[in-house]
């Protein structure tokens, strides 16, 4: 490797951002997975005053949406700045209108895209080309890179080429597979970039800027006489563009030695079978072609780099004249099209060339078009080989899919999944860890140590599950002497580590181990017990695969080193010791150096403890000699129990076991409709400690079940007879605190396998043992000691009928006795959002429809494999859907309209049939129902049942239709749920419009004051003074007052609530919002891990937020105005604590104090001023008496 070239080990997002940042003056950003890190890097560098190539710090601005970012990009370009942005998926779709404009105006610009699936039947954060393919018509050039190295290089080529071509470039690479893959790559230095970008083209770009010094006008409206010709006038620029890119690639090659072509053939010079594709899949195809050619096969591949403008002649010229069959692969799907985009382009190019006589072959080759890799589905050498096999057939399938089993339309090609073509010199390692144990971070450190300390090439790819608590991560690492093109997971690992012993019971970890693999287990058990504790399947595999088994008690070593349960350093040291990528001593020294380098700035103690952990790891590692035969008495726990319903057994179970890829097409609902009530079958058992109830101390206040984010601790009042056959483990006492529940029994029961161990229930529990105050009515206890008994008790608990809903008083003390219809979600331990949703389902869940904005709540609410929304004993429960991020208010608004339409139709039919039905029943059904009264709702359900009975057996169409729609006579509640990123930013326009209507919808804003789901980027809800991503120096403007904006309409119910600390007011607000017959807005304070403190403190911290006025507590009810009262009621004054005392408890504020105390003081002062002003303003508003009705003009 060249001495002058600097090699770094980074992912494509960072590599691309580095180039784009240096070559830009203005950067407009908005977070969206998997492109967010590009924006984050740019923002971070700008906050650190890092200059671009011309010595200036670019403006990095976060907009309210990708649509906003595109508009800002367009404007900055018009003003002459070199401008870029980063996006993906729906974000790119939102940019499309501006892309047409930017291209139509022949403007040099570069957009970097981590290509990702578009939401169709479901959302997917993973990679394919459906987003970029939706931009084919925009007139942008499209340049595709297939590896982190290419992504960096093409970013530079795109920036330089666009200035020459005057066509905006969409530079894209595969989301996650490339964007998040770490690779050792040759870094482009400033000098190279400067040589690439021509000052002359830059000058011309600026010459085209709008300026009053040379005024021109753009954006005219044109008519039939002019538009067409003007559109065609741009053709020469498109004609020139491929040559410009080719020339730029040559220039780049001269500067760096890395050569690229816009179409690049690789393979046998006389190949008969050729596949055409782009993106990361081309790397795998390249590797497979080499292997096949090595076996004497005449195969080859064409890598498409510049997809638009599609240069027909260049494409034809790169094909070997010997080609007989072509397989064209698209990583996208266009239902109903004659073929996917690349296929159609290739066919058109071939036909065109044959027609013009420019093709090197006389006849059209056989052509097969295939889809692969949707949503990051694996694309492996086995699949490539299978495609070549298909192409060898006399009549290959014209259309196929690869990588799945399509048993419905039978399009899929079979492939041999075990095929391993990787050379032996490549060391392959797989690590199973938990999201919280640092496995991925330590693997990133490992690959940097190896990449930057040796001549080895390396690659790391990380796979996460979709849970936010107790999630599993799988890291795939490769090291080898040559370039690594294996853009797929590791299936034959030489080294395999399992960092969490619990995973051994859940997953077949050994399926990824090669024969003779070294296997490392982290376990607290001593050697002799460890072997016996392994499930039989694992023992069998270890022996059958001739593994060498090593073990370490990582927890103990981490604990001894003062690192708690953070085992990443310990496990990393074991890897280096066992994997022998580097000599032992050298590896350990490099690790220590890395600890100092990476963590040195966090303080000496951090370094000291991690170094102690490294030394402890080496000393604590030991080998377990495998016996000749497996002897374990227990088997791996099935992912779901036998009680689970058929769909869960057939489908969910496989996904839970990590074998979702095996499910055939027929297993799936084709329209994205999925059953609810399945999270209860996913027994994750992730808590180390669970709350154990002490009935003798309990005061039956139910605060534990009210605060639980996962509905994993339940309180229930029930008929004594129900406990007649209870097991001894099920403990219950008489209900003695509520008159209405006299005679019932009472229980607080933990769901031991669903609890995340957050401890909030214990923290909030007010009942202490008078003799020993540290013992409460709930105490966290070791799960191993209690899980068996509690599992049995909880199983019994689930069989107990709930009392009639009407019997439970709607007081804060009793409301959590209502059955939750939202349970065991994958939200973070201690989540501050989910209690609100659970409460809403307890109050209205049996008649609620939910529109959910994309974000945390849509992920823990609707991400496979299981669904947390559930049903009551009668099968009723929330119906839920997620449309998009930006449209949720409108989506819910539409739901209300749709429900209303069916209600109207039912009422109309009732009128129509009234004479044929019992008059008393018709009258009762036509009377309004008070939704505030459970008894009234129950009564209406009885009336509907009576109506159905009356209609039963009738054959006339209106009667059948009414019977079908009768349930709509029970009031339906529409809730619109989403986070602050939606409500304050991207969805605000729609939210505002819905508020301006009179429609009866309830809007719940789960305000975490940042974009939580994408990693804590600032929103307009972020408070002044807080550090967030995109606000690395602390936000300097005030939090948007969404409630005030809504109040300004006058007819909107508005509440600002904080449930953990003041649940009573939340309950009042929910009931008032539900009963208010117009739009209601509830803004809910949600503690979040993005705030940076231990979530166990969240209720105390929420109390501080309220007491300091940081979080206002009020309810604005327009109904009060009708009674002559001020509609605004302030529930807490918020002046009991200084704002500083609140802020100093949260790292998101304190980070500034540590960095720059003077700025911190300024921000605190400004925040104090803002809070005081708001408090004073609200106090005045609360004093305003409405104008008497007679003085108000009619609207």
């Amino acid at each position: 490797m060249s001495k002058t070239t600097r090699y770094v080990t980074i992912d494509a997002n960072e590599a691309v951002a580095s180039v784009a940042y240096r070559l830009s003056e203005t950067i407009a950003i908005y977070p969206i997975t998997p492109s967010s890190p590009m924006g984050e890097h740019a923002d971070d560098w700008a906050a650190g005053h890092r200059p671009n190539l011309w010595g200036e710090v670019p403006d990095v601005v976060e907009m309210q949406s990708e649509g906003g970012a595109a508009g800002a990009v367009h404007g900055a370009l018009q003003a002459g700045a070199q401008t870029t942005t980063f996006t993906a998926s729906q974000g790119l779709l939102l940019m499309i209108p501006n892309l047409y404009k930017i291209a139509g105006e022949l403007t040099a610009c570069c957009v970097h895209i981590a290509a990702r699936s578009l939401a169709t039947h479901a959302l997917s954060i993973f990679g394919d080309h459906s987003d970029v393919m939706a931009c084919r018509g925009t007139g942008c050039a499209m340049l595709c890179s297939g590896s982190p190295q290419e992504a960096q290089d093409f970013a530079a080529i795109a920036h330089a080429a666009t200035l020459h071509a005057r066509i905006p470039f969409l530079h894209f690479f595969d989301g996650f597979r490339t964007s998040h893959e770490m690779q050792k790559l040759a870094m482009l230095d400033d000098e190279t970039l400067l040589q690439l970008v021509s000052p002359e083209t830059l000058r011309l770009h600026r010459d085209r800027a709008l300026t009053p010094d040379r005024p021109v006008l753009r954006g005219t409206a044109q008519n039939p006489d002019a538009f067409f010709q003007a559109r065609e006038a741009a053709n020469p620029w498109y004609d020139r563009c491929p040559d410009i890119v080719s020339n730029m690639m040559r220039r780049f090659e001269n500067l760096t030695g890395r050569g690229y072509r816009i179409f690049e053939y690789h393979g046998h010079p006389q190949a008969e079978r050729v596949i055409v594709l782009m993106g990361s899949g081309a790397e795998c195809a390249h590797e497979t072609v080499d292997w096949l050619v090595g076996r004497g096969e005449k195969v080859g591949m064409v890598r498409v780099r510049l997809y638009r403008p599609f240069a027909i002649d260049d494409f034809i010229a790169c094909l070997p004249p010997t080609v007989q069959s072509l397989g064209v692969l698209d990583r996208t799907k266009e239902p109903g099209a004659t073929g996917e985009p690349l296929l159609l382009d290739v066919i058109a190019a071939l036909v065109d060339a044959l027609g013009r006589g420019t093709a090197p072959f006389g006849a059209l080759p056989k052509i097969a078009g295939g889809r692969y890799g949707l949503s990051s589905k694996e694309f492996t050498p086995a699949m490539v080989a299978a495609i070549f096999e298909e192409l060898a057939k006399p009549r290959p399938r014209a259309r196929f899919t690869i990588g799945i089993n399509d048993d419905v339309t039978h399009l899929s090609l079979p492939y041999e999944s075990g095929l391993d073509i990787e050379p032996a010199e490549v060391k392959r390692a797989v690590f199973y860890g938990l999201g919280s144990d640092g496995t991925v971070s330590s693997n990133k450190a490992t690959i940097k140590i190896i990449g930057e300390g040796t001549d080895l090439h390396c690659q790391a790819h990380f796979v996460y599950d979709s849970k936010k608590s107790g999630s599993m991560t799988v890291s795939h690492l490769r090291f080898g002497p040559h370039e690594i093109r294996s853009t797929y997971e590791v299936y034959h690992a030489n080294f395999l580590a399992v960092h969490d012993p619990g995973l051994l019971e859940r997953i077949d970890v050994l399926e990824r181990a090669a024969d003779g693999a070294t296997v490392l287990l982290n376990s607290p058990l001593p050697n002799e017990k460890l072997w016996a504790s392994l499930p039989r399947e694992l023992q069998d595999s270890l022996i059958a695969k001739n593994c060498r088994l090593y073990a370490i008690d990582g927890y103990q070593i981490a604990e001894q080193a003062g690192l708690g349960r953070r085992i990443n350093t310990v496990m990393q040291a074991c890897f280096f010791w066992l994997a022998e990528v580097l000599p032992h001593e050298d590896a350990i020294q490099r690790m220590k150096d890395s600890v100092v380098k990476v963590w040195g700035k966090r303080g000496g103690e951090v370094v000291k403890r991690n170094i102690a952990a490294i030394d402890g790891a080496v000393a604590g590692l030991h080998e377990i000699t495998l016996p000749a035969q497996a002897d374990s008495q227990h088997h791996r726990r099935p992912a779901v129990g036998p009680e689970a319903p058929d769909f869960v057994q057939r489908v969910t179970k496989l996904i839970l076991e990590g074998h979702g890829d095996r499910l055939p097409v027929s297993a799936f609902p084709p329209d994205g409709t999925w059953p609810t009530a399945t999270s209860r079958y996913e027994k994750r058992a992730i808590a180390l400690e669970i709350p154990i109830w002490e009935p003798d101390i309990c005061i039956q206040c139910n605060r534990c079940s009210l605060i639980c984010p996962h509905a994993a601790i339940r309180s229930l009042a029930f008929e004594p007879a129900a406990a007649a056959n209870a097991p001894a483990s099920f403990r219950h006492v008489e209900e003695t605190y509520t008159d209405e529940l006299d005679g019932l029994q009472y229980v607080v029961q933990v769901a031991p396998d669903d609890c995340t161990g957050c401890g909030l229930c214990v923290e909030i529990c007010p009942a202490k043992d008078k003799k020993q105050p540290k013992r409460k009515a709930l105490n966290m206890r070791d799960v191993h000691e209690h899980s068996a008994a509690e599992r049995e008790a909880f199983a019994f608990f689930t069989t107990i009928p709930h009392p009639e809903r009407a019997r439970i008083p709607r007081t804060i003390k009793n409301v959590s006795l209502l059955e939750p219809l939202f349970e065991f979600s994958g939200a973070c331990a201690g989540c501050g959002e989910t209690p609100y949703i659970r409460l809403m389902t307890q109050l209205f869940g049996d008649r609620v429809v939910i529109a959910n904005a994309t974000g945390c709540s849509s992920i823990y609410g609707g991400n496979l494999p299981t669904t947390p929304y559930t049903v009551d004993a009668r099968g009723r429960g929330p119906a839920w859907s997620n449309s998009l991020f930006e449209d949720n208010a409108e989506f819910g608004f539409g739901m209300r309209l749709g429900v209303n339409a069916l209600v109207r139709r039912a009422e109309q039919l009732l009128d129509q049939l009234a004479r044929t039905l019992p008059p008393a029943l018709v009258d009762a059904l036509k009377a309004p129902v008070s939704v505030a009264e459970e008894a009234a709702v129950a009564k209406r359900r009885e009336q509907v049942a009576a109506l159905r009975e009356a209609l039963a057996g009738r054959s006339d169409l209106p009667a059948a239709e009414l019977a079908h729609l009768a349930d709509y006579l029970v009031p339906k509640s529409v809730w619109i749920v989403g986070g602050d990123g939606w409500a304050y930013d991207i969805g605000y326009g729609g939210l505002d419009h819905v508020l301006a209507s009179h429609l009866d919808v309830n809007i719940l804003v789960l305000d975490t004051e940042v974009y939580s789901n994408t990693g804590g980027q600032q929103s307009k809800a972020t408070p002044l003074g807080a550090v967030a991503k995109f606000a690395a120096a602390g936000k300097s403007t005030r939090k948007k007052d969404l409630g005030l904006l809504a109040m300004s309409y006058g007819h909107v119910y508005v509440a600002s609530v904080a449930m953990q600390a003041r649940a009573n007011q939340t309950l009042e607000a929910f009931v008032e919002a539900e009963t208010y017959p117009g739009p209601s807005l509830i803004i809910a304070h949600c503690p979040c891990i993005a705030h940076g403190y231990d979530m166990l403190q969240s209720l105390n911290q929420q109390r501080r937020a309220i007491d300091s006025g940081a979080w206002p507590m009020y309810r604005y009810d327009p109904r009060r105005a009708a009674e002559g009262e001020p509609p605004l009621e302030i529930d807490r004054k918020g002046d009991q604590l200084s704002l500083r005392e609140y802020m100093q408890e949260e790292p998101r504020f304190r980070m500034i104090e540590l960095k720059d105390p003077a700025r911190y003081n300024e921000l605190v002062a400004a925040a104090e001023r803002a809070t005081a002003e708001r408090r004073a303003f609200y106090e005045q508003l609360a004093e305003i008496h409405p104008i008497a009705a007679k003085e108000v003009p009619n609207e």
């Binding site: 991560t473 990693g1015 991503k1029 940076g1092």
Partner: protein, 336 residues
């Protein structure tokens, strides 16, 4: 008019009034007003060994524990070196105080283990600390560690800090030693130049209603002064250490009492927090008035005149007097 200047650890100070280790030093501009009002030196707020370690580990845990755990969010905070942990920001604050006030700045370290402090003390010296005040605040909770073991460890800590720096080191003590004078002799032997009596123990209260501990730290009052006066009187002239009163000095009279019992300086915190710079100016003026009224030409002349060595009735400082006081006390109900 009498001279107000005094010396402390070899530093020449223009008055005996010094800002004690407390939040007064947090705001540099505000602090400057106390210096204008007569504070002759500033002891910075204590840098706690456990706190630094706890903050480092908490931040590490926070950043590290929420990194790379989810496909959509690599982390939850910006990546750049936003957080400076350890004592760097303390050092920068020290530099700001020096630049703004011009008076000697004494850095305060609160540590109980030898070794960990030497580097930090060196850094503080390099940043211009005029002296180091080592606060031996410690709550002994380990029944396995004897009093003498605790003391040995503390002396070792003092020795390691003294050995690390060339500026003078004072030691702030708690009142709970079997023999404060003997321990002070050991301190002098370990190289300390002064003793500050006493630090104020964190004394949580019990809340009967909630069965919780009330962890608020309450401000001192003049009622806490006599314990300090007693110690000053016992130490003055009997150990080779400069002496400072800390805790309970609220008025000019309090300061005067401390000086006559043997203090070189008095450190004030609660009174300053409660009453502000103007109050300090008035207190300094009243102290000067007292000194003049009593006919002392300077502070040194008044120092220690009421110590065990010099008091007209030294027995009053000793145990005998305690017996007499107890005998003179009767429960209220029995009084006539």
């Amino acid at each position: 008019m009498s001279e107000l200047n005094t010396t402390w650890l070899g530093l020449a100070l223009r008055t005996p009034f010094v800002v004690a280790a407390c939040p007064v030093s947090d705001d540099v501009d505000h602090l400057a007003r106390y210096v204008e009002a007569g504070a002759s030196a500033v002891v910075m707020r204590s840098l706690f060994e456990e706190q630094i370690i706890a903050e480092q580990m908490a931040a590490h845990h926070l950043i590290d524990g929420r990194t790379d755990m989810d496909a959509e969010s690599r982390s939850f905070m910006p990546e750049s070196g936003t957080v400076t942990l350890g004592h760097e920001h303390y050092i920068r604050h020290l530099e700001r105080i020096r630049a703004r006030t011009g008076v000697p700045v004494i850095a305060s370290l609160n540590g109980v283990t030898p070794g960990g402090w030497t580097e930090m003390a060196r850094d503080l010296e390099a940043a211009g600390a005029a002296a180091i005040e080592l606060n031996l605040y410690e709550v002994a909770t380990d029944p396995q560690e004897s009093g003498s073991e605790v003391e040995t460890r503390q002396i070792e800590t003092v020795r390691s800090v003294v050995g690390a720096v060339s500026v003078p080191v004072a030691v702030k003590l708690s009142p709970f030693y079997a023999s404060v004078p003997a321990f002070c002799r050991q301190l002098a032997g370990a190289g300390a130049k002064g003793a500050v009596v006493f630090n104020r123990f964190y004394q949580p209260d019990v809340q009967l209603e909630t069965l919780d501990l009330d962890t608020n730290l309450h401000l001192s009052t003049s009622a806490e002064l006599p314990l300090r006066l007693h110690a000053l009187a016992l130490l003055h002239g009997r150990v080779a250490l400069d002496l400072s009163a800390a805790g309970g000095v609220h008025t000019a009279e309090d300061a005067a009492k401390a000086i006559v019992c043997g203090a070189n300086i008095v450190q004030m915190a609660s009174a300053l927090l409660e009453n502000g710079p103007e109050y300090l100016a008035a207190t300094v003026a009243a102290f000067a008035g007292w000194l003049a009224e009593q006919g002392y030409r300077d502070v040194a002349e008044a120092r220690g005149v009421m110590s065990l060595e010099n008091a007209p009735n030294p027995g009053a400082w000793e145990r005998l007097n305690y017996m007499r006081m107890l005998a003179g006390w009767q429960p209220r109900a029995k009084r006539r």
